[in-house]
Amino acid sequence: MNAIFRALRALPTLLKVGVAEAVAYRAEFVIWLLTTTMPLVMLALWSEVAREGGPVGGFTGADFTAYFLASFIVRQLTGCWVAWDMNREIREGTISMRLLRPIHPLAAYAADNAAVLPMRLVLSLPIALAALYFAGRDHVTHDPAMLGLFCVTVAGAWLLSFSIMSIIGSLAFYIDSTLAVADLWFGLFFILSGYFVPIRLFPGWLQAAADALPFRAMLGLPVEELIGMQTRASALRGMAIEWAWVLTCWTGAVVLFNRGARKYSAYGA
């Protein structure tokens, strides 16, 4: 518990330094933002399908617009790529410097990742929110309770995304490279989270699988909450599943990291 309080006390400085680092890579940051615009591509694609052939599985063109704009916003808030950093630092030995500091490296990685959120929000959120307001404001939930649930779900989605990326990153202590594992994960994520196709368009058995696995909680659930496709009861049920996954994956990440650190060779450092 002390370790958590220490990390929280150091958090403002960690975030401040993280923001300063994010700002230092201005050009790279803007280019990176462009790589997160896949939901906008899917928006154009599915809207056109709905416009030409009529509603798809009950989704109209406006539904698709609202869904994928909300997807873009949620992805900006919850996207996490720490597995790449961990994989590189463990292989090259530069994680040594993190291990020598009196804060758990996972807490430091979490702060690094959280620190890029303000930049992402400043650059992309106003545009996305304005687009959502003008193109699909009728779809955005007006239920304050649902908006509250949305905030908690997004926080859970970020934590879940970070924990799973940490698990994949920690595997670098055990195997030579974890990038293929990350690719495999993202392949499943893009399909089962609702990133490419709304989960409601899936066959029933696949929807059930997406509900039980952590994928939907990381994107589809908060998106559906924001655009009013969830009832309070279903949102609460989804959130319970989400936080159970958060707890499981975070514990798994910490255990895997701590055990993996015993295998660390610190080559090159």
Partner: protein
Amino acid sequence: MIQVTELHKHYSVHRRPPGLWAAFRSVVRRPTEIVKAVDGISFSIEAGERVGFLGPNGAGKTTTLKVLSGLLFPTSGSALVAGHVPFRRETAFLRQITLVMGQKQQLLWDLPPSETFELNRALYEIPKTQFHETLAELTELLDLERVSKVPTRQLSLGERMKCELCAALLHRPKVLFLDEPTIGLDVSMQSALRGFVRAYNERFGATVLLTSHYMDDVLALCPRVIVIDKGRLRYDGKLADLTHTLRPEKRVAVRLSRAIEAADLDRFGKLTERGPDRVVFQVPQDALRDRVARVIAELPVADMTIEDPPLEEIMRDLFAAPASP
């Protein structure tokens, strides 16, 4: 302060011959062998000591430092540093130690070092007054006023190394593990760094364990040396005793006011260097007084110095000798 008992650290290393066929074979068959980087060493270091940790490349010096600083989990044996088992990396332990590696850095690459200093203040929970006091002191001693505000990537190696040292000492650690801290630095910077480490040790009573290939670092800083080779302890004791044991001779270097025939010189000692106006003899310690008197009386001496053989030569002799089982 540091207690090491029968410490072992073994690595499993994959070896394969070069070539495409070997690359394909390694997909299905990956033979490994065990490399004993540290092979059962024991020593202890008292608080406030400055100890040189010496050995040829691959001797296990850096591996030992990494075990002692908590980076590596030992294969067997035990280590205690400031009363802590290093690998547990407890906060109380990490706040008492620092590891400076000449080729690796903790400075944030794209930000000025001052940002790393501030980050360390938060992580080590250094009280603000102490932080500003220590930082001001280190800034003055290491002359960091200008460089601490320039992005790290734009600093020279020497400037970066000074900032590394500052970042590593802000929390006033009680144990300093210094791994090649002067590597790549020019002579004056090396000297300044040595002076600084010595001053820090004397002021805070810090324990220093130093590895370096520059014997000047060891001579200037370490009254005691621990020598390891192939992961095993070869010597642990005073540097002066090591010198006297392995090379009981002194070097007597003489600058002559005129050239002398070589035949006239052998009677003063073993001639190890000879130039037109400079000669160096190797003289047994017990005969030193007598020989020096004779040199002064019988040769046209313009200048003379008496010194121990270079530490590099002593180390070479030590590593050339077979290790005791």
